[in-house]
């Protein structure tokens, strides 16, 4: 805990030093209850005092960068957030000299979904939260609950290969030893299902979707902004009808447009108000991209997304004989 406090102070000092030259710095503060953080747009010393970097601070600040085009801003980034920044830089969607990156070597953030499942009552009734070194002490509906942090970390963190920012101007915290990425067990289990079961799963799951497009709008790589073909008036891509097939069509659009660009920050899944496990699709596509192109989005500067280029001889595309 004390480590985190000193890191927070170190970060605040770093931000304070640059605040004058920046339009704002995006970090996190406590949200509507002690269990939830919310993005914080720091413009003054007073704002800076509210900054938090606890594992509850989950939002990907890279999502907001394209909205600040032409202005110079600061971002507090974790490893996965830095990947989004790199991918945006690689796609020339933001300029390197327009972002100052305050990097946090990250030990993982929570999954509110897992916390909800682990708590004795709905997290809507949370009264107090105390952060221990490896655990969360939560008072909910008058009851005390202690959750092991490891057990409520987001999937992306449990299997994160890049906990430390891959690009940063200021780096806070201690770097981690290199780690191997892995795919979560539920991913493997789902992939092992038969076509009929998978199809039925998506049919039912997509019937929950209200097509609010939170998954799209929270995605740092969804840069079409207001011009997504799914909500365009003059395109035949989709009906406005809310049915499983149209809802799934949108997910296919999202995944297709993210091919080789998804940095696996998990924001789409986090943002979904009806808990659709969207990362099943994203992770699977990313796996294919890795296998065929040896490419992972946002892990190195100056890389072109694989669908925007080609090789005359594709080493790993085996065309089928007829």
């Amino acid at each position: 805990m004390s480590g985190e406090v000193s890191q927070l102070e170190e970060l605040k000092a770093a931000i304070r030093g640059q605040l004058d030259s920046l339009d704002c710095v995006i970090g996190w503060e406590q949200g509507y209850d002690p269990l939830h953080a919310t993005p914080l747009f720091i413009r003054s010393e007073a704002d800076l005092e509210r900054l938090t970097i606890s594992p509850l601070a989950v939002h990907n600040p890279a999502t907001y960068t394209t909205g600040f085009k032409g202005k110079k801003i600061g971002l507090v980034v974790r490893g996965c957030h830095s990947r989004s920044v790199i991918e945006l830089l690689n796609e020339k969607l933001i300029e390197r000299d327009e972002v100052v990156l305050f990097g946090l070597c990250c030990d993982g953030v929570v999954s509110q979904r897992k916390i909800r499942a682990a708590l004795p009552a709905d997290p809507g009734f949370v009264e107090a939260v105390e952060l221990g070194k490896d655990e969360l002490h939560i008072t909910v509906a008058g009851e005390q609950a202690t959750l092991k942090l490891q057990e409520v970390l987001a999937d992306k963190c449990l299997h994160c290969a890049y906990p430390d920012p891959l690009v940063a101007d200021v780096l806070i915290g201690e770097k981690h030893a290199p780690r191997q990425a892995a795919s979560p067990a539920c991913q493997d289990a789902f992939e092992a299902l038969g076509n009929e079961e998978k199809l039925a799963f998506w049919q039912d799951t997509m019937s929950r979707c209200i097509r609010c497009y939170a998954c799209r709008n929270v995605c740092p790589m969804c840069v079409c902004q207001d011009h997504c073909i799914a909500t365009s008036r003059d395109h035949l891509w989709m009906s406005q009808e809310n049915t499983p097939v149209e809802n799934f069509m949108f997910q296919m659009i999202h995944v297709s447009h993210l091919t080789g660009r998804c940095t696996e920050c998990g924001e789409c899944e986090r943002a979904c108000p009806v808990d659709i496990p969207l990362m099943l699709l994203r992770r699977y596509m990313n796996k294919q991209v890795r296998e065929v192109f040896g490419h992972q989005a946002g892990i190195a500067l100056d890389k072109t997304p694989p669908l925007l280029t080609f090789q005359v001889e594709e080493a790993r595309i085996k065309e089928r004989d007829w």
């Binding site: 020339k92 969607l93 365009s232 003059d234 395109h235 049915t243 925007l308």
Partner: protein, 661 residues
Amino acid sequence: MRIGVFICHCGSNIAGTVDCESVVEIAAGFPEVVYATDSMYTCSEPGQEGIITAIHEHNLDGVVVASCSPRMHEPTFRRAVERAGLNRYMFEMANIREHVSWIGKDKAHNTNKAADLVLMAVEKLRRNRPLVAKSFTTVKKVLVIGGGVAGIQAALDCADGGLDVVMVERDQSIGGKMAKLDKTFPTIDCSSCVLGPKMVDIAQHEKISLYACSEVESVSGYVGNFSVTIRRRATYVDWTKCTGCGVCTEKCPSKRSPDPFNEFLGTTTSINIPFPQAIPKKAAINPDTCMKLQKGKCGICAKVCPVGCIDYEQQDELVTVEVGAIVVATGYDLFDWHKYPQYGEGRYPDVITSLQYERLLSASGPTGGHIKRPSDGKEPKNVVFIQCVGSRDRSVDRPYCSGFCCMYTAKQAILTKDHIPDSQSFVFYMDIRAPGKGYDEFTRRAMEEYGAQYVRGRVAMIYPHGDQLIVRGADTLAGTQVEVPADLVVLATGVEASQGAVKLGETLRVVPDQFGFFVESHPKLKPVETNTAGVYLAGACQGPKDIPTSVGQGSAAAAKALGLLSKEQLESDPAVSKVNVNRCVGCQKCIDTCPFGAIKAVTDRMGRLKAEVIETVCQGCGICTVTCPQGAIQLEHFTDNQILAEVNALCPPKMNNVSFE
């Protein structure tokens, strides 16, 4: 819209297996179709008149014709609807012949399929919009790449027709392979006597500028307005001053420079004019062997040059020219016969190529026209010719026939007898291919009058024996094995695509086939056109050819270029990409993926980046449309909506009214 549908019987071609009347009946019920009919031959004069009349009578603003492939008659029908006052893009075709009646046996299924194809066409047409071609002016100048006989002919014809011509030649002189030949078949006339005057014409024609020792570096632009960058290699001689007097070549002490003009049979001086009739007749230094350039010592040529044109500091120079059309005449290279183990892989100096033999025969060659074999300079008595070395042989990936080797082998056998009356020629062959005028008679003369002994069979091996070579092969007609002692073996090495062809093809967007020969637009009807408008082919770069055919193609390509540039203005295809600036977020992905550089970034008045299509450069492939995630750039006539309309026509979305929950 008010759409008219016309179902063609194509005689019995379609009506034989498609119930055209039923298709008409079904089509009449399609959305916005107000008129549907059938006709015997829609493409015929009365058929087209029928369309025009219907457009007027029924006030149609869109037409669907269901008949043959649009690759066949789309232009025909577009002209017809245009004659009736419609925009030619308010027309769609359904291919119910090649894709239906000719391939399906079941009439009911065919009829059903034809109706579906008509529905797709109707649904697409409903989203078509009139497109208007843009006119643009053209540069009345032609680039000819390659100064062989095909290129020379094309250049002279274009220049005589009034166009300016830029000729680019990689070597130091034009003339190509033909300049190296001694005599030509079947007339045995002197090659340089025929070609020489034409080469001189190139040099002297006021409309032709010649860039020798030069290569095409890059090409941008589009038909009528190409911009070509030419790299002029440093020759270390100022050609504006050089008179070709040759004093430098006489005095040059470095005499061991390889001599490509003589097919490396001998060596030459570092500063050199390749042959007496060279055009341009200018000296050039081979920097690899020049002592001055290699070691900084010597400099004799500069001292002896009477006009002071030697420049050791000269650099490559890039020149940009604007041209309206391009003729590609890059010729061919010889197959590398060393791949064949049976011919010694180069171990025996007296195994030479046919082109080397030409140089031995030539009076301007390294032996002054006396046949002396390379090993010891002796005059050979027994000369063995082996045909099809790198032709018609799948084992070396050269399955094609090089076409003219049979003829020049016969010619060389005849010339051998002329040069050495007591000599004996043997020719190992597979088949004699002599289909030209006077050709077969010519090969018979070689055998009958000149006593060349033809052996039908392949050679299995060559091995040395004393100062001779033994050629062992099969005589398949006699059914025996033969061994022929030879003083000299001449390989009729086959033709392969010029080495730089694939790279040049990428530059020009002309596709090479699997062997590197450029692919013409249509093998029969468009033999000199390519799929890139304004780029034409002449000579062996399209496939193996002899001299008369190459000359003929040179003239044909010139005629195409002249025809193209005789128009004051050209029209661009309006089916190109278009940017909806409201949707464009300026990510420039389309710019990165466009193969033609047809999209550029511009800044709007708010200072935001936007993509902009250069209409005349855009070729209409649609790669950008798929690249753009927000659909801001749409390929006109093949927009997302138009294609999706076809998809939805085939697989209609289910409109079940089962409520959501």
